[in-house]
């Protein structure tokens, strides 16, 4: 039991260390790459119709719950990522939802 916990803790720490390390280069990258990322995201999330993200929300998230009141734009990324896993969203639907939550 103790070893299982040690393994779990070790795994969690390894993953977090890897992730923190992988985020470093991101932090060091310049404005150019940030602009590139934004434009890539913008193209990827370009909805087929203006209300596609809203439709994704209604058809997936709203099957279980209503929209959160006064959702902070800062929270929108984690919320959309959580829903991508929980509601098995496709990549396009995830992008549309992200765009809807944080236009």
């Amino acid at each position: 039991m103790k070893s299982l916990e040690t393994i779990t803790l070790g795994l969690a720490l390894s993953i977090s260390a890897l992730a923190a390390a992988s985020s470093m280069p991101l932090a060091q990258s310049d404005t150019h790459s940030q602009t590139q990322t934004s434009s890539k995201l913008s193209r990827a999330s370009h909805p087929a119709s203006p209300d596609r993200g809203q439709r994704v929300f209604q058809q997936n998230c709203a099957r279980c719950h209503s929209a959160p009141e006064g959702l902070s734009p800062s929270a929108s990324g984690a919320v959309a990522r959580h829903m991508r896993v929980r509601a098995n969203l496709s990549e396009a639907d995830f992008r549309a939802l992200l765009h809807f939550l944080n236009p």
Binding site: M1, K2, L4, E5, T8, L9, L11, A12, L13, I15, S16, A17, A19, A20, S22, S23, M24, L26, A27, Q28, Q34, S38, R55, Q58, Q59, A62, R63, C64, H65, S66, P68, E69, L71, S72, P73, S74, A75, G77, A78, V79, R81, H82, R84, V85, R86, N88, L89, S90, E91, A92, D93, N102
Partner: protein, 355 residues
């Protein structure tokens, strides 16, 4: 709910370790302020509630917290966790009130994006069987505050697995969406991370135009006794209406049962935010059939029928008031069940992002 656990470390010690691990994760992410500014902030979410249940004349008062944390790490990884902490206060005949406290980790998982159609989940996760366990066990979005009678079917005793899962969307367009999940769980008797050796999965089809979802689930217990569990679900939520219909059928080796529930938000009466539009009548019917005695499937020992009728009121600021009356019919006695609750849903980012 977690049962039959053997601890070598005390539960408090184990919870402290899990919390420490999470704290370290947050701390490691704080190594670079720029890195934080670039990535999505972690969120703290969940529900806080005060629930009461009077079942056959016995009343329980239950303050409960179900916090959720989601921590994105880069573009392809995130850590998610949810815990449950509650105290149950009840009356002892001739001896005043007593209480016990229940704490558990519902899940602590790493989600790794493995392409546009798959996510690999590792760690402790909610068992993907039927709909209730994954979708409706958070107190702020449950239509009724107690679990369906057939919740035990396919949940492998603890409701959680400890191992790996692959899940995702096969395809999605305007007419249909097909998604899946498949998992393997090892055995664990470790306090907050209890799980039974099992495997299983589910697949579902959703038709957006009609708001219809149909799915099937399968689970196989691989413990001392190998048993199969099967389930079907059907949900219907016509678009742009306040109406929802949810149903599930579950089959265990020695019992089976179903539940269905409907709710209707009266948003037609002046909008969802009007005084009347905040009302939501709810109804649930369920029935179980016992074929042979079985102490492990979690279903009632005798054939049971139950109907619940309730009313939710959605106050501003994510507060919901719920009250319901139910009547349960069984050969060993019929009982009335009254429930009330006040639940608050919270959702906050842990820091402010720049985008």
């Amino acid at each position: 709910m977690k049962t039959d656990r053997v601890n070598k470390l005390s539960p408090t010690h184990q919870l402290a370790r899990a919390v420490s691990a999470l704290a370290l994760l947050f701390a490691l992410c704080g190594l670079s302020r720029n890195a934080i500014a670039q990535q999505d902030p972690a969120i703290i979410s969940g529900g806080i509630g005060f629930l009461t249940t009077t079942n056959g004349g016995n009343t329980n008062f239950i303050p409960e917290v179900k916090p959720v944390a989601v921590l994105p790490l880069g573009d392809h990884l995130q850590i998610e966790t949810r815990a449950t902490v509650l105290s149950n206060f009840f009356h002892r005949t001739g001896d005043g009130y007593d209480h016990f406290t229940f704490k558990t980790m519902d899940y602590l998982q790493a989600d790794v994006k493995a392409g546009s159609h798959a996510t690999i989940v590792a760690g402790q996760f909610l068992t993907p069987f039927g709909t209730y366990n994954e979708r409706l066990t958070q107190i702020w979005n449950q239509t009724f505050q107690d679990l369906p009678l057939i919740y035990g079917v396919g949940s492998m005793n603890t409701g959680s697995g400890l191992g790996g899962m692959v899940r995702g969307n096969v395809f999605a367009n305007d007419r249909a969406s097909v998604s899946y999940a498949a998992y393997y769980s090892g055995n664990s008797t470790s306090g907050y991370f209890g799980a039974e050796r099992s495997s299983g999965g589910q697949a579902q089809v959703y038709l957006p135009e009609s708001g219809l979802e149909i799915g099937a689930s399968y689970g196989r217990s691989l413990g001392a006794v190998h048993e199969n569990f099967e389930g079907m679900h059907l949900w219907w939520q016509p678009i742009d209406t306040g109406f929802r219909f949810r149903s599930e059928f579950g089959h265990a080796p020695n019992a089976k049962g179903y539940w269905f529930e409907t709710d209707y938000r009266l948003q037609q009466l002046g909008g969802a935010d009007s005084a009347l539009g905040r009302l939501e009548p709810v109804f649930r019917m369920q029935q179980t059939f016992r074929d042979a005695p079985d102490n492990n499937d979690g279903l009632p020992f005798v054939n049971t029928k139950r109907a619940d009728l309730g009313l939710d009121y959605h106050l501003p600021h994510e507060i919901r008031v719920h009250t319901s009356y139910g009547r349960q019919f069984a050969p060993d006695g019929n009982v009335n069940i009254w429930e009330t609750s006040l639940v608050y849903r919270l959702l906050i980012p842990t820091w402010k992002s720049k985008h």
